[in-house]
């Protein structure tokens, strides 16, 4: 890789630790910066460096394969190690990139949504959330996952509650999220405790080795697996455990909603993959059963049920939130079929959906910023009053439906083919049906935006009022990204296939 030549050597070796140390320390410093502009600039620079670091890590990983970084110089299993492999490198890039894009967008958005004296702590909490998500992605230690899960969760609760300046329901949404999130994290800790009881170690690779020696382990390991799946299921909004999600996405500040929708559930999904296929193994009967019946079952029910709920929402942010639950169903379906192709398709959808949903939330936030729009009926005439914003929303929306030459199309088609190959023909039908449901809930917005007349205020038609450049750039970057992924899909498909091969072995 020629790009790697521009990066200093220490960054390649210490990259994973740097990725964690930088945002954590800078979050502390950002919190006390007196000037809100300086706080934004510091966050911007940090996320930019994070993005560069993440790309370095991913490229370096593609070159040399799995790397292990021993925190504190203590080798695993005694110390905590950071592991970079084909499975988490793309997720790291995704989180870093999304934080960078969101920070650009946050400059105008926070002006409208966050009080001036709270902006520096707000950016600090945002950095903590980013660091927490990165931390739970890079770590190779099961208990360390919990610690960084909580770093990201606690800052997320606060970030969601910051939406109270705009809508007081943000407070109760944040409280619900806190209760369910803490229960999820505690279930996860119970699972880790049982696994520790069974294996005597906390290092994931070591756990995997010992569990394989025990041939899946005793009933303790089975229960541990169940608790880990439920705990992560709460975090990733698996269908019946998703009740915190609509409120948290709908009432949080717009940059936060976009960032959460694109990263928080994705990091939890990554962990589910890591535990299901790496620590445990689908060759254990109980894991196979959970994959086949629980994950697929809940995924499919969630796809249909949440899509239907999305159709009946009046608030567009709640609609997108329910749509997220439905999309998580796609990923669970891919994971549950448990062939290399299907896991790759589910993983690909994880990445693509992050791009798509972030684009939608950013565009929607810009509409709120200019016109205070959150409801579906207010979309009338947006094609004329905010053409560029609506354009980005349209591209991302079409991608969500799965129109050809978009990111959503690539992952859905891959998933459908994988399901077909595995003989799950009914799953292909479900994918078609939910795509049609997505067409309904996105389509009605597009119709009213492009064919409805702009509303009149005091007898004059509302004039064109485009979003500021700092909002347009991020949302168009994401909209274009979903088109580029749709047309030139090889890079991401390759990355997803490598990840799936790492988990399931080639073939």
């Amino acid at each position: 890789m020629s790009l790697l030549e521009f990066v200093p050597d220490w960054l390649k070796i210490h990259g994973p630790a740097f990725l964690m140390a930088l945002p954590l320390i800078m979050a502390a410093i950002t919190a006390i910066l007196p000037n809100k502009r300086v706080a934004w600039a510091s966050t911007f620079i940090v996320t930019a460096i994070l993005t560069v670091t993440a790309f370095t890590i991913a490229l370096y990983n593609a070159e040399v394969g799995t790397t292990i970084y021993n925190m504190g110089g203590w080798a695993p299993p005694h110390g905590i190690s950071l592991v970079i492999d084909a499975l988490n490198a793309p997720v790291i890039v995704l989180i870093a990139l999304m934080s960078f894009i969101t920070v650009i967008y946050a400059l105008p958005a926070t002006v409208a949504e966050i009080k001036p004296n709270k902006r520096a702590p707000f950016y600090a909490a945002f950095l903590l959330c980013t660091a927490g998500l990165l931390g739970m992605t890079v770590t190779g230690d099961a208990f360390n996952v919990f610690v960084f899960l909580e770093v990201s969760s606690i800052s997320t609760y606060v970030l969601v509650a910051m939406g109270a300046a705009r809508d007081r329901r943000a407070l109760s949404a944040a409280y619900n999220y806190l209760i369910l999130g803490s229960i999820g994290a505690t279930f996860f800790v119970i699972g880790i405790g049982f696994l520790y009881m069974e294996t005597g170690t906390l290092n994931m690779a070591d756990m995997a080795r010992i569990l394989a020696d025990l041939d899946g382990g005793s009933r303790v390991a089975k229960v541990a697996f169940g608790f880990i799946v439920i705990g992560l299921g709460l975090k990733l909004a698996m269908f019946p455990l998703h009740t915190w999600l609509p409120g948290a996405y709908a009432y949080s500040p717009t940059p936060v909603a976009a960032f959460l929708a694109s990263t928080a559930t994705k990091a939890a999904l990554y962990l589910l993959l890591r535990f299901t296929f790496f620590v445990f193994d689908p060759s254990y009967a109980y894991v196979a059963d959970v994959l086949m019946y629980i994950l697929v079952g809940l995924g499919v029910v969630g796809m249909i049920f949440a899509s239907l709920q999305a159709i009946f929402q009046t608030d567009v942010r709640r609609m997108l939130a329910y749509s997220s639950v439905a999309q998580v169903g796609y990923m669970l379906l891919g994971i549950g079929i448990a062939t290399t192709a299907s896991v790759a398709a589910g993983y690909l959808h994880l990445l693509n959906h992050a791009i798509i949903k972030a684009g939608l939330f950013l565009a929607l936030g810009a509409m709120w910023y200019r016109f205070g729009i959150t409801r579906a009926e207010d979309f009338r005439g947006l094609g004329k009053t905010m053409p560029l914003t609506m354009g980005a929303f349209t591209v991302s929306g079409l991608s969500l439906i799965g129109v050809p030459f978009t990111a959503g199309f690539v992952s859905k088609v891959n998933l459908a083919f994988a399901a077909w190959d595995a003989g799950w023909i009914w799953a292909v039908a479900i994918i078609m049906i939910t795509s049609i449901l997505a067409l309904i809930y996105i389509g009605r917005l597009l119709l009213s935006a492009y064919f409805g007349a702009p509303p009149e205020v005091n007898g004059t038609v509302v004039a064109r009022n485009e979003a500021p450049l700092a909002m347009l750039l991020p949302m168009w970057a994401l909209a274009l990204a979903s088109v580029i992924v749709g047309v030139e899909s090889d890079t991401l498909v390759g990355a997803a296939t490598r990840a799936a091969e790492l988990l399931l072995g080639a073939g």
Binding site: A17, I25, A28, G72
Partner: protein, 159 residues
């Protein structure tokens, strides 16, 4: 309903109903703080460490606030200090890690800090425990200040 910020130390006749409490607290609070530092620096040898010491140190300030009023406590331990203290602790901890970076080891590998690995570990543990102490103390006081400064909406008769 009294505002905790302006609760007078004595009533208008100069009678202090809590004089005994105040005298004993004045005697106890330094001892509690001293005990916190004992817990901090004895953490290598017995139970204790930065976290426990931080909570105990914060408890001494909280006791001060309970007995002498929040306004007095804020004079003794100003809120501005708290925001810097929280940050300082994280920087102490993370900075130790970064220093290990610069000295050529891994993040948080204290072995390079001293003349040999064991001495380095001792210095490193001392430094990070101080970081823990700083953050925990200030955050605990911050949380107490935050709750204590709010106006209660339910009056005492609701009990």
């Amino acid at each position: 309903m009294t505002d905790p910020e302006t609760t007078p130390v004595a009533d208008k006749f100069g009678n202090d109903p809590h004089v005994l409490l105040r005298v004993i607290a004045k005697f106890l609070i330094p001892l509690i703080a001293l005990f916190a530092f004992y817990v901090q620096f004895h953490g290598d040898y017995g139970p204790g460490g930065g976290f426990q010491a931080g909570v105990i140190l914060a408890a001494s300030v909280i006791l001060y606030a309970l007995i002498f009023g929040l306004a007095e406590a804020k004079k003794a331990f100003p809120p501005r200090l708290i925001r810097y203290g929280m940050t300082l602790g994280v920087i102490l901890y993370g900075g130790t890690g970064i220093l290990n970076f610069i000295l050529g080891g891994e993040f948080l590998n204290y072995s390079n800090l001293g003349k040999d690995a064991v001495a380095g570990q001792h210095y490193g543990i001392l430094a990070v425990e101080l970081g823990v102490l700083t953050t925990v103390t200030t955050v605990m006081i911050a949380i107490f200040y935050a709750f204590g400064s709010r106006q209660p909406e339910t009056s005492a008769e609701d009990w």
